[in-house]
């Protein structure tokens, strides 16, 4: 038995396959677009984020923009995981996943295949290999397109390497995403969610997305803001949220991720006006 296990590292230690129901979550709780608190953005990442405007969603080419897999595993919708078993050997050749929202799929190759060269085309889910570390499935993805880490402009670049750890805790599934981005981050960005519940009765709904014009964006226009001109509410020094967050924290950066930053928050001016948008609350 020891020999069998040691010669087959791709063998699953636990069963991750099946239907997984997302539990309530909260992306960041502030309710203000343009809030980067807790994100390890460097100057380039901040500039990229601040150039974003909501009209991006109205560009015809972006209306049905997929959410990349690493963003989708924040548990935004129903998840299905299944295996691709090679017939003759009955070995798991790959884990496959689908998330209902925006039709995201991933393939995690478990057969030891080589990673493609750097010049190979990038995609929303990229190229992924997997390995078992104990009972944790670890996915390593490269060849990704640039995509959101927040839906209001904060991005990871197409040069990022994303590692996702899938771990089953009883009937729950945890995903821990660690993003290494040499372009937009100063430090690894970690996000961990114990937000999926096994539910065999779930159905995977289709996600048809049709291009529809909600706000006219002139053809050939790329909506954006120039540096220092961000119009997003969280980038307005005179606005705050219901938590009373200061403007400086909302610029993000590695230091905002650590406990000692709490003392620094107290030294910042509290903006005078509370942003009035009503956020999602509770269940």
């Amino acid at each position: 038995m020891l020999l069998t296990l040691s010669s087959a590292p791709a063998l699953a230690q636990v069963d991750l396959t099946g239907m997984w129901r997302p539990m309530p979550r909260n992306e960041d709780g502030s309710g203000m677009d343009g809030d980067y608190a807790g994100l390890p953005l460097n100057a380039a990442g901040r500039a990229r984020a601040q150039s974003w405007v909501p009209e991006n969603f109205d560009v015809p080419e972006w209306v049905c923009r997929p959410h990349s897999w690493d963003f989708s595993v924040e548990a935004v919708a129903v998840l299905r995981l299944w295996t691709d078993v090679q017939g003759p050997t009955q070995q798991v050749r790959a884990y496959r996943g689908r998330i209902a929202m925006r039709d995201q799929e991933t393939t995690i190759w478990m057969d030891g295949r080589a990673r493609p060269p750097d010049w190979v085309r990038h995609s929303w889910s990229g190229f992924s290999t997997g390995e078992w570390q104990g009972d944790t499935l670890v996915q390593t993805a490269t060849h990704l397109k640039e995509n959101y880490i927040r839906r209001w402009g904060a991005m990871r670049s197409d040069q990022a390497t994303v590692r996702i750890r899938y771990k089953r805790i009883g009937d729950y599934l945890r995903t821990t995403v660690i993003i290494y981005d040499p372009v937009y981050f100063d430090a690894p960005y970690i996000r961990t969610n114990l937000f999926w519940v096994n539910d065999p009765d779930l159905q995977m709904p289709p996600y048809p997305c049709d291009e529809a014009t909600e706000t006219v964006v002139e053809r050939g226009t790329v909506p954006h803001q120039l540096p220092g001109k961000a119009i997003l509410p969280a980038q307005n020094p005179d606005l705050t949220d219901r938590f009373g967050s200061p403007y400086e924290a909302r610029l993000g950066g590695t230091e905002t991720m650590y406990p000692e930053y709490i003392a620094k928050i107290k030294t910042f001016r509290r903006p005078p006006t509370v942003f009035s948008e009503t956020p999602e609350r509770g269940q």
């Binding site: 038995m1 020891l2 296990l5 040691s6 230690q13 539990m23 309530p24 979550r25 909260n26 960041d28 709780g29 502030s30 608190a37 807790g38 994100l39 390890p40 078992w132 570390q133 104990g134 009972d135 944790t136 590692r163 750890r165 771990k167 805790i169 009883g170 729950y172 945890r174 821990t176 660690i178 290494y180 690894p188 960005y189 970690i190 996000r191 961990t192 969610n193 114990l194 937000f195 949220d241 219901r242 938590f243 009373g244 967050s245 924290a249 905002t256 991720m257 650590y258 406990p259 000692e260 930053y261 709490i262 928050i265 999602e280 609350r281 509770g282 269940q283």
Partner: protein
């Protein structure tokens, strides 16, 4: 045995699964081993919270009525609605928000050391709290309820798993969201090393409370390993502070 040597762990999976959280107690192959000897991973050292998600809920005191993600029942909502930060009692009652059901989400540094062959001690600088994880011992039903309660622990499939009860009623969130003395906290401590050498500790918590919750409150938080006691900053319990 280290986590990387999961071949042996794989052989123990069946035993561990059936024995569950109390795998170290009572008969079985592991009964004679202390928690320290049976340790399938090394969690000792100093760890710091990395708050990249739910930043506002954790790095600031949430405003009254901020219940995002909490499966509260009506009784809890009523109590939380009556919360008045100006009327929080002084003294030990300031520690209501630092109990075992909540403290892993408070931005902190943890220092974890063996206190004996069957006890792992976790010091927490925020609120200057101490948690004790007891291996191979029955629940201390006579122990008076406390902020950190009584934690039984076992190594299961490479992770430290703990169940904490005997809790003094406290706050699940610092804005007055209550948990009762009937609360049970199940935790899974998962340590791993990334290719760049970073050591991470992910703590998954499943909080159940028949008095104030309609269902389990499940969370996952990350800590990064740092040099021993680096940045260690013990604070008193403070009802009006995030840590």
């Amino acid at each position: 045995m280290h986590k990387a040597g999961f071949l042996v762990s794989a052989l123990l999976v069946t035993v561990s699964l059936s024995a569950g959280i109390h795998a170290q107690r009572g008969g079985g192959a592991g009964a004679a081993q202390s928690g320290r000897a049976a340790a399938s991973d090394d969690l000792t050292g100093t760890w710091v919270s990395v708050v990249a998600e739910h930043w506002h809920l954790r790095m600031l005191v949430p405003p009254k009525g901020e219940f995002a993600m909490l499966p509260l029942n009506q009784a809890a909502r009523k109590m939380a609605a009556a919360w008045d930060p100006a009327k929080e009692p002084a003294g030990d009652e300031q520690c209501k928000g630092y109990g075992a059901a909540a403290i892993m989400r408070i931005p902190s540094r943890l220092d974890i050391r063996w206190a004996g062959d069957n006890q792992l001690r976790m010091e927490i600088d925020s609120g200057t709290q101490t948690r004790l994880f007891n291996f191979g011992a029955a629940t201390a039903t006579t122990q008076p309820p406390s902020w950190q309660g009584y934690s039984t622990a076992a190594w299961v499939r490479g992770d430290l798993q703990a169940v904490t009860t005997r809790l003094r009623p406290g706050y699940l969130r610092k804005n007055g969201v209550p948990y009762s003395d009937q609360t049970r906290v199940e935790e899974h401590f998962d340590r791993f090393t990334e290719p760049n050498g970073d050591n991470w500790l992910v703590v998954d918590s499943i909080v159940t409370d028949p008095v104030y919750l309609n269902g389990p409150y499940v969370t996952s938080v990350a800590f990064k390993k740092i040099p021993d006691k680096q940045g260690w900053d013990p604070t008193p319990c403070r009802a009006n502070e995030a840590r």
